[in-house]
């Protein structure tokens, strides 16, 4: 009965914490490997268990996933289990050989992070000189191989003003563009967090781009953190039907050391179990697992969300954003409705 109600539609794998970049906004402070990272046999076992409990898609992230020599073997097993694949990479290690293997795997998307419209901004945000050119080359290779390519831009104070230039570059290239907001987790410093007005401007930018350009010209989308319940911005622009944080409801995240969370982007203290010690079936079906979202009650809302009429449906927005900014669950202050009521009133 429990399984029927909560089934992990998508899982995120932190294949390794090792990374060749030192991005200022990295939410998991990637760089060095975790102690005792999962072996390929262990990852394959996890994939099998996830498939058994109804998972449909696996997002493979890092660190930098291509630093693991067995990435292909692990991904291949995902496909063998009948699951869909998505890769999120920094792009610097993608070459002709990688693209050939990616084509074999037939992922539904390969996402590359680009965080600036010029080498100076991008390289300074990502902490690796020359990476801008390497990333663009990777995108070109992926497109030439006809792979579904997405560019992810994590918006912070340093690159906020460069969004129009990035859009000009992307126009008519057939590359999807996902915008997300950098939140103060891991390495990201709070002083670089965009203001609420800039957050709203970014949403306006996404909405107006969708209105003024066709999806063929530029398929742009805001990540789930771009919400919620605006009185002005069209609903279908950002999150079509936001029903609150999906951690432990339809989503599960697995760290490279086996730590299991409802969502990979939640802080370390949300780890509830280890895939090395128990099966994912046991972890997922444990009534304690993600009880904060599974047994959510409107009384759990905090701060301004408490008195919001959409609180029960919205569940206080993105949990990771809420916790990282306010230190409390279920009170994401980066909310359209709140901003419209408080910041843009006069």
């Amino acid at each position: 009965m429990f399984l029927k109600k909560f089934s992990p539609k998508s899982a995120q794998y932190e294949l390794t914490l090792q990374c060749n970049m030192r991005c200022i906004h990295c939410n998991c402070s990637a760089g060095e490997k975790r102690q005792s990272e999962l072996t390929s046999t262990q990852w394959n076992m996890i994939t099998k268990q996830l498939a058994d409990i109804g998972c449909k898609t696996i997002d493979i992230l890092g660190g930098e996933l291509f630093l693991r020599k067995d990435w292909f073997e692990i991904s291949q097993h995902v496909k063998e289990c009948g699951l869909e694949l998505l890769f999120v990479s920094n792009g610097t290690l993608i070459n002709e050989e990688t693209v050939k293997k990616l084509r074999e795997l037939d992922p539904y998307a390969v996402a590359i992070s680009i965080d600036g419209s010029n080498p100076s901004t991008h390289d300074s945000i990502r902490g690796l000189k020359g990476s801008f050119e390497r990333c663009r080359k990777a995108i070109k290779l992926l497109k030439e191989a006809n792979l579904p390519t997405t560019m992810i831009t994590t918006v912070n104070k340093k690159n906020f003003n460069e969004l129009p230039e990035l859009r000009s570059w992307l126009l008519n290239k057939g590359i999807a563009w996902q915008l997300q907001m950098a939140i103060p987790l891991g390495r990201f410093q709070k002083d670089l967090l965009i203001t609420k007005e800039d957050f709203y401007a970014t949403a306006l930018f996404i909405a107006s781009t969708r209105r003024n350009y066709s999806l063929k010209e530029i398929p742009i989308i805001g990540a789930h953190c771009f919400g919620y319940f605006s009185g002005f911005l069209p609903n279908n622009v950002i999150v079509p039907n936001w029903k609150g944080c999906q951690a432990g409801i339809t989503s599960i995240g697995i760290q490279s050391d086996g730590g299991v969370k409802g969502c990979l982007f939640l802080p370390e203290d949300f780890v509830q179990g280890n895939a090395k010690e128990s099966s994912l079936y046991e972890i997922w079906n444990n009534p304690e697992f993600c009880s904060y979202t599974r047994n959510f009650d409107a009384g759990d809302l905090s701060r301004e969300c408490k008195k919001c009429k959409y609180g029960k449906k919205c569940r206080g927005g993105c949990l990771a954003t809420s916790v990282s900014i306010t230190g409390k669950k279920f009170s994401d202050p980066y909310c359209f409705k709140l901003i419209e009521e408080n910041n843009l009133k006069n």
């Binding site: 129009p164 401007a201 306006l204 930018f205 107006s208």
Partner: protein, 68 residues
């Protein structure tokens, strides 16, 4: 919130007033669409609220009675 605030915010990313006006959701479109449907029903003679003229109308009492 006032719409002029949106124009000011939009300026930050070079979004013009016209672009913003076109982007914002408007109830006006829904009202026009609703009015158009009502007019089409009235003038088109498609009167769903005349049960006796439509044997399978759900408003027809017989429609419900046939299940008993």
């Amino acid at each position: 919130m006032k719409e002029k605030n949106l124009y000011k915010i939009g300026e930050k990313l070079g979004i013009t007033e016209t672009e913003i006006k076109a982007t914002l959701k408007r109830n006006r479109n829904k009202i026009i669409a609703g009015a158009f449907i009502v007019l089409a029903i009235v003038f088109g003679g498609i009167n769903a609220y005349q049960p006796l003229r439509r044997p399978i109308s759900i408003n027809d009492f017989d429609f419900f009675m046939r299940f008993f």
